[in-house]
């Protein structure tokens, strides 16, 4: 007589089969945008957000915040200038110097100690530019990391991808931290690069940090390529964030996948024929004397499993799994229910 059944737990390196298999790791990839969508084709900003912190960055949504109260930012864009040009303020003059703050924040986060300016691949005058544009994917959409080789962003009329070469092989460059942003497309299923980063005249388009979900664009190069009209005048509010978002809206395409490693445990709940054939369900027996509500259950009881509870020694319910439909159990039936618990 029992309502609990102990798992046969064997050490992880044991040759014996057990009921619990631990530490199973799976790489799960999915569309990165709202509700798992693989791409966004419409882009919106919020007047509330832009009114408060728009000088620093703009949150970009995939639906109109004026009509969709549930809309969440998908990514943010920011303009950064090493000296703060294109924003109000400078040394000795009142102003938040938003562009300088953003640039220094990016360099402090993404560059190594002792480096204070981004250096891009390629050759020419703009491999070490004074200003950059950045895209930072929101934490909720990114989860763990952006999937290298599986994103494409259109700014204006030009399409951008990375040069990881990992489009069809997610195991490529696991240890890598930064790739070049290049002109190209993944629409054919594999990455088609127009010009490699080193071939790019004037300097490469940018850098891609998959683990941080960040794209840093070479300011002068993207300014020319997308005709942004970046304002780099000292102590002047240039509205560069708005200009960058406007060109993303014109491009109307941002496709991306995210990746995360899911660790799971599998519990094999073995239900032998002689066990779990009776129920404490109040409709199984009468409340007055406990006799079965169905006379046919005598010596041939039948139960229907709808859920599995996983417990610790103290009898505390730690996890629960539901079946998609009731599973018949009787003395002539056995079942193995594999319960997968993700962490």
């Amino acid at each position: 007589m029992a309502i609990y059944k102990e798992f046969d737990i064997q050490p992880q390196n044991s040759a014996e089969s057990g009921d619990v298999i631990s530490n199973i790791k799976d790489i799960v990839s999915s569309g990165m945008w709202a509700e798992g969508a693989a791409s966004i084709t419409t882009f919106f900003t919020s007047s509330v957000q832009s009114g408060s912190s728009g000088d620093y960055y703009l949150d970009v949504y995939s639906s109109d915040t004026a009509t969709d109260t549930q809309a969440k930012p998908q990514f943010s864009v920011a303009y950064g200038h090493f000296n703060g040009s294109g924003s109000l303020g400078r040394s000795g003059i009142t102003g938040n110097r938003a562009a300088a703050s953003i640039y220094r924040q990016l360099s402090q986060t993404l560059l190594g100690p002792g480096e204070d300016q981004f250096t891009f691949a390629g050759s020419g005058a703009h491999i070490k530019p004074k200003y950059v544009y950045a895209i930072s994917v929101s934490r909720q959409q990114l989860r763990e990391k952006m999937d290298p080789g599986n994103w494409e962003l259109k700014i204006g009329t030009r399409r951008f991808i990375d040069d990881s070469g990992a489009t069809t092989n997610p195991a490529v460059n696991q240890g890598g931290r930064v790739f070049n942003i290049v002109s190209g497309s993944i629409q054919s299923g594999t990455a088609v690069i127009k010009h490699t980063a080193t071939e790019q005249f004037g300097g490469a388009y940018g850098l891609f940090y998959p683990d941080l979900g960040m794209l840093v664009f070479n300011g002068p190069i993207i300014n020319t390529s997308a005709s942004l009209g970046t304002v780099t005048t000292i102590n002047t509010l240039g509205g560069n964030n708005d200009k960058f978002v406007a060109k993303i809206k014109t491009g109307a395409y941002f496709q991306s996948r995210r990746e995360e490693v899911v660790t799971s445990q599998h519990y094999f709940c073995r239900v032998p024929n002689k066990e779990f054939n009776f129920s404490s369900n109040p409709t199984f027996a009468t409340a007055s004397d406990g006799s079965f509500t169905q006379a046919t259950f005598f010596k041939n009881p039948k139960t229907f499993i709808t859920q599995v509870g996983l417990y610790n020694d103290a009898g505390e319910l730690l996890a629960v799994a539901k079946l998609s439909k009731p599973l018949l159990k009787s003395y002539s039936r056995e079942a193995i229910i594999k319960v997968k618990l993700d962490f």
């Binding site: 779990f276 129920s279 027996a285 406990g290 006799s291 499993i305 629960v320 998609s324 319960v339 962490f343």
Partner: protein, 227 residues
């Protein structure tokens, strides 16, 4: 020729609130060692022994029903557990308890003796019970006769409690418990308060609930008021 039906079913589990709490405390605190099965949502009155297609279809209505997704609140799942009993069992275990209701009367005030609640299980025996007092502002509950010589630990409440009840509820595992009168704070219109004491057999899964009523209301100067 046909294909054999391998009966392995794979399902995804979710952590309960308790599971998340223990996981946050570290991997040692989160240690699953056993499982139980339940048949919540099933009404065995739908088992139709008059089905025109015969005995194979008696349970068809139940087997074909869709099920709700799992709830993370452990108080709302695994309510009716499946039990392993001898095949020739004729009657399911039933818990009976004396007294059938508990009432701390206003007349006896705070000096009335504690009441022992000692359930017993008919047809099949239980070695211990889980006592769930839904609102411990009404009475105090302590272990009278511990389970297996040990003190009454706190299992997760394996029975339906509303969110409003959970913060006030108290759970003990024991063979019997003792209820002691507790003065109710005076408030306008309050002459008594009631709650439920749910008792679950830890071996059989059988359940019963009794009503606990307290009419001892304190007035100013800690004097017992008589309605």
């Amino acid at each position: 020729m046909g294909f054999l039906n391998n009966t392995t079913v794979t399902v995804d589990a979710i952590l309960t609130k308790k599971g998340r709490e223990l996981l946050a405390q570290g991997s040692n605190a989160f240690n699953i060692t056993k499982f139980a099965l339940a048949d919540d949502e099933v009404d065995y009155k739908l088992f139709d022994v008059t089905h025109p297609n015969g005995s194979e279809q008696y349970g068809a209505v139940i087997e074909n029903m869709p099920l709700l997704e799992a709830f993370a609140d452990e108080n709302h799942v695994m309510r009716y557990k499946l039990v392993t009993l001898p095949k020739n069992t004729q009657k399911m275990p039933i818990i009976s308890v004396q007294p059938a209701t508990v009432h701390f009367t206003a007349g006896a005030g705070l000096v009335q003796p504690p009441i022992t609640v000692a359930p017993s299980t008919a047809n099949v025996s239980d070695n211990s019970y889980t006592f769930i007092l839904h609102d411990q502002t009404i009475t105090t509950m302590v272990v009278q006769n511990p389970a297996g010589g040990q003190g009454g630990g706190g299992a997760t409440t394996p029975f339906f409690l509303g969110d409003d009840d959970a913060p006030n509820s108290k759970t003990l595992v024991a063979k019997s418990v003792r209820l002691q009168v507790k003065p109710l704070a005076a408030s306008a219109g309050t002459s008594s308060k009631s709650t439920q004491l749910t008792i679950v057999g830890n071996d059989t899964g059988a359940t019963i609930s009794i009503t606990v009523k307290n009419s001892v209301v304190l007035g100013t100067g800690n004097q017992t008021l008589f309605p």
